[in-house]
């Protein structure tokens, strides 16, 4: 699996991995990260809907995919119940001391090569599905990792590809339609729809002046 991860990393290096690592290199040194992300408290950036959903399932075995250096679920889901993965996990270990901070190091898997099958009560991905090479393959892999009756939580900004001018990882636009379907649009213009799930909401991020979507599917 690590080998597969490396393969994808090689591809993505061209498309923005360096940009991502450089972002985290600076961010991990900030008080905002050290106080809000690395400590055993709710991460301030975790929206309260997902927070509420997770505290309502205190014993759930949770996978956070595309986590970045430290999972946004750190401090909300207990370490023993949390599995974390990010394609760049091995790179992140070079810029952050997981042992010292008591945080989970991400397993180096991208969404497309997740090795899990019906293993988790909740699978979560925040602001990362649209960073993948292939959103539909990734979606199926994420859902595949969910146990029957469990939940897949997808959240992120709408139309990030357009917003970021299709730079770096941002090759896709995700958005929620009026009927609650997840709309997936590739830079090439190809559009797919993923059926609506248990819970679909958009929330207003006042600080950024942008809308954020939350899409929860029950398997």
């Amino acid at each position: 699996m690590v080998k597969i991860g490396i393969k994808y990393y090689s591809n993505m290096k061209i498309k923005g991995a360096d940009h991502e690592i450089n972002f985290w290199k600076d961010f991990v040194k900030t008080p905002r990260f050290l106080e809000g992300w690395a400590k055993d408290v709710k991460t301030p950036e975790l929206n309260d809907i997902v927070y509420g959903f997770l505290v309502g399932h205190p014993k759930a075995k949770v996978l956070d995919c595309g986590s970045g250096v430290v999972s946004i679920l750190n401090g909300t889901v207990k370490n023993e119940n949390l599995t974390v993965c990010d394609l760049l996990g091995d790179e992140y270990a070079k810029i952050f001391n997981y042992e010292l901070m008591g945080c989970k190091k991400p397993e180096p898997y991208g969404c497309e090569d997740l090795p899990y099958d019906n293993e988790f009560d909740i699978v979560h991905i925040s602001n990362a599905l649209d960073h993948t090479q292939d959103v539909l393959t990734s979606y199926n892999k994420l859902l595949g990792a969910v146990k029957k009756g469990g939940f897949l939580i997808i959240q992120g900004f709408e139309n990030e590809g357009l917003q970021e001018k299709w730079q770096g990882f941002h090759q896709w636009n995700l958005s929620i339609t009026e009927t609650g379907t997840l709309r997936v649009e590739h830079k090439s213009g190809k559009i797919d729809y993923i059926d609506s799930g248990l819970f679909v909401k958009k929330i207003w991020i006042e600080m950024l002046g942008r809308e954020w979507f939350i899409f929860i599917v029950q398997k």
Binding site: N47, D48, G52, F53, V55, G56, K201, I203, W204
Partner: protein, 210 residues
């Protein structure tokens, strides 16, 4: 600029439109408090106040949650402020002294809730809300502080707002998530109350209930 600012707590339930409809045509500037539809009320209200009201020339600020009311209710609430630091309209509260007694008067009380209180801005700014308490208790704490400083609180029995549409209708998923969070926070906050006010926090905060 108007005399009164209204800070409306955003809900994501469909029925919240009923509250939004009530805001049309009011003689006030209207702002919104955000908390992802489920999170901390105290933080949302404080943030909105600091962003939109602090440093401005408003005399009153009305905090509006998931209630319904008429334009006349709003006007009467403003006109009934008198010398009070904060006044709550009557409604079908769990606390008897906030329920409408039919007198039509503004009566002094020992604490108010935060379903829809109107404050003088200088009074609210003096205390703000204790963000350690997300859904409950911060109203009792600000009331305690006002009471100790001799600032009068009242209930306006000439104004009755409705606070039932989210309670009585079939719960949306978002309502269930908020309820989960409320229950989660309740356990944490009761411990915090015990640490802050002692084991008899309940008697201290509710001691003066009319």
């Amino acid at each position: 600029m108007q005399k009164t600012a209204i800070i409306v707590l955003e809900y994501l339930e469909q029925n919240f439109q009923q509250t939004l409809d009530c805001l049309v045509g009011l003689d006030a500037d209207i702002f919104y408090a955000y908390r992802d539809g489920v999170g901390s009320m105290s933080r949302a209200y404080n943030d909105a106040y600091k962003k939109h009201v602090l440093g401005m020339q408003y005399e009153f600020v009305w905090f509006v949650s998931n209630i319904t009311f008429t334009k006349i209710d709003f006007d009467n609430l403003v006109n009934g402020m008198g010398t009070y630091g904060a006044v709550h309209p009557s409604f079908n509260s769990d606390h008897k002294h906030i329920q409408c007694d039919g007198s039509g008067l503004v009566k002094e009380v020992s604490f108010i809730e935060f379903t829809a209180p109107m404050f003088r801005t200088w009074v609210f700014e003096k205390y703000m809300l204790d963000e350690g308490y997300w859904y409950w208790f911060y109203d009792l704490i600000i009331s305690k502080r006002m009471r100790e400083d001799g600032i009068k609180m009242g209930v306006n029995h000439g104004v009755k707002v409705s606070h039932v549409y989210l309670r009585n209708n079939k719960k949306e998923e978002i309502s269930k998530i908020r309820e989960t969070l409320r229950n989660w926070r309740h356990k944490i906050e009761v411990k915090k109350l015990e640490a802050e006010f002692g084991k008899n926090w309940n008697q201290i905060l509710f001691k003066y209930e009319n």
